[in-house]
């Protein structure tokens, strides 16, 4: 009886170990932070895989107050290929919060997303797998 319990325990431990090692890790899309002298940009991509993507953008001033501005322009480019795609303009959902949808980033690799609000521009590197 005791032996069966021990064997069961060993199987449970082995299964737990295998789960820890083999559990598929979803590549969590991290928020990317960039700053200019006046504004703070936080871009969170919907995915870190190549394909159609969308960005959640929060733009505040350096004290955290939502930035004013009617439209934000997003210019994705792939520096290794020397390839840029047409800029995308998005309006605010609420002050300082923008949603940029339907961004076609079809190639894996290093991308650079230039985000500009009026005269303030930042370049946010984005690595797609």
């Amino acid at each position: 009886m005791k032996r069966y319990v021990l064997i069961a325990l060993a199987v449970v431990v082995a299964a737990a170990g295998a789960l820890v090692v083999l559990w598929p890790r979803t590549v969590a899309a991290q928020p990317h932070l960039a700053e200019t002298g006046q504004l703070r940009f936080v871009l969170t991509p919907a995915s870190t895989k190549s394909g159609v993507n969308s960005f959640d953008l929060r733009i505040t001033d350096l004290r955290g107050k939502p930035a004013q501005g009617d439209e934000v322009v997003v210019e994705p480019a792939m520096p290794q290929m020397g390839h840029a795609i047409a800029p995308i303009t998005a309006g605010p959902l609420e002050p300082g919060h923008y949603q940029v949808g339907d961004v076609g980033l079809y190639m894996p690799g290093q991308w650079e997303i230039t985000v500009s609000l009026s005269a303030e521009r930042v370049v946010i590197p984005l690595l797609l797998t």
């Binding site: 480019a77 290794q80 020397g82 894996p108």
Partner: protein
């Protein structure tokens, strides 16, 4: 009971002996960054010393050269979302090293501002590689399992002791495999030199990418004058976007050689003032069309030479007046020629990591801007026992002979300048070389 106690102690000793190397492991990450900067009227070398701990201090040395006016400069370290750290460094009359200390609070992409010049740099994170973790983890697990096996044996369960023993063998196999295979695992793409650095990839550098070729397109250079400042705009040759990914190579973001109409040379290191915009001041410029050539390296690798010309409003020429004994052996075009400059005493300093630099422009018929060949030849620092591998400018112990070998590709008359550093002053020795055509006897 006494015996089991002794066995327990031995087992504990074995575990500690296995575990300790993991704690004693302290990999060295990063290196000093040397960047030459032509900042206004000063020629500076900014040295960002290796960051030992994060958060912690970063030491910045500013090396002034002969002719640098004394004064105060402001050093600022900043990163998105991080506390900005500022210090002032007073530069004295005497050329040499002046230091400042800044504080950084996280690994990642940072920017050091020296007055209006900005130097992007990466503060690396100390991250153990997965195979290191497998090696240490395997040995630690083996130690723990050995201890368990001993416990079972001591308490009279030799049958049960087999289970942890088998586990121990497996753990040692994992650790030994990881340790043996790790030297053959290709390095991952480095943030900063191959990938754009972000806080995420600096803190987790072992993510694999599918890319294998990291090189980037050629660059267009557009020069213009703003007062006495030469402003260089760099744009990507494929997308037209500003080029803001220059790497430090040979201790500068950009090696800019400017040749005046009368054949005088300046070797400058423009400062980065905005994305894709670099500036260098031409002190007391000469009137006329200047030939310029910029050497740059983009992220992903490969050095590019960008040539252009710019009209400068100025006055009379300031001659390159360096003197050296030259021993030349010029062979026909396409064959290696040697030029050895002798500077008398063995007290030359490394400049831009090299013993000497030789700039070759030619064959000249009219303006240097029209010369088909433009070359930058290095004389390496000879490896000397007892000396550091990559000495900085404080080591004045090289020379006196500075040899160069270059195969002049075309016959004709070349303008040649040899540059070395002594007493924190750059000596520029001008000379002219006539290269015979193939089949024409020497002399």
């Amino acid at each position: 009971m006494k015996r089991s106690g002794a066995i327990l102690l031995l087992a504990l000793g074995a575990i500690l002996g296995i575990v300790t190397p993991a704690l004693a492991d302290g990999a060295q990450v990063g290196a000093d960054i040397h960047v030459a900067q032509t900042l206004g009227g000063r020629d500076l070398t900014v040295i960002i010393r290796r960051v030992a701990e994060v958060p912690g201090p970063v030491h910045v040395d500013v090396v002034t050269h002969a002719g640098s006016p004394p004064g105060e400069i402001t050093l600022t370290a900043r990163a998105a979302g991080a506390q900005t750290s500022t210090t002032k460094v007073v530069l004295g009359e005497k050329p040499g090293f002046y230091s400042g200390v800044l504080t950084i609070d996280r690994p990642g992409p940072w920017e050091l501002a020296v007055d209006e010049a900005t130097i992007p740099f990466v503060v690396p994170a100390l991250v153990a590689s997965p195979w290191e973790n497998a090696t240490y983890g395997g040995f630690i697990a083996a130690g723990v399992l050995l201890f368990l096996a001993l416990l079972f044996a001591v308490f009279g369960k030799p049958g049960l002791a087999l289970v942890p023993t088998a586990g121990m063998v497996a753990a040692i196999a994992v650790a030994a495999t990881a340790a043996l295979l790790s030297p053959g695992i290709p390095p991952v793409a480095a943030p900063g030199t191959q990938l754009d650095p972000t806080f995420d990839n600096v803190n987790d550098p072992y993510q694999r990418t599918s890319a294998t070729d990291f090189s980037r397109p050629p660059v267009n250079l557009v020069p213009s004058m703003n007062g006495n400042d030469l402003v260089l705009s760099l744009t990507d040759g494929s997308s037209g976007r500003p080029v803001d990914d220059l790497l430090v190579h040979d201790s500068a973001f950009m090696h800019l050689v400017v040749v005046s109409p009368s054949g005088n040379l300046r070797h400058l290191h423009p400062i980065r003032t905005a994305p894709g915009e670099y500036r260098a001041r031409l002190q007391a410029p000469e009137q006329g069309t200047h030939a310029i050539a910029a050497e740059i390296a983009r992220r992903g690798g490969g050095v590019q030479l960008l040539r252009s010309q710019v009209d400068v409003a100025g006055s009379t020429a300031v001659k390159n007046d360096g003197k050296a004994g030259l021993a030349t052996e010029i062979r026909e075009a396409g064959r290696p020629s040697t030029i050895t400059a002798g500077f008398g005493a063995k007290d030359l300093q490394p400049w831009l990591g090299m013993l000497g630099h030789m700039i070759v422009v030619g064959p000249v018929t009219g303006s240097p801007a029209d010369a088909p060949i433009w070359a930058h030849v290095h004389s390496m620092i000879p490896p000397t026992p007892g000396m550091p591998d990559k000495p900085d400018e404080s080591v004045a112990a090289y020379g006196p002979n500075v040899p160069f070998t270059y195969s002049f590709p075309l016959p004709g008359r070349y303008l040649v300048w040899i540059q070395v550093e002594r007493d924190y002053s750059i000596i520029t020795v001008p000379t002219v070389v006539d290269v015979p055509a193939k089949g024409v006897a020497e002399k």
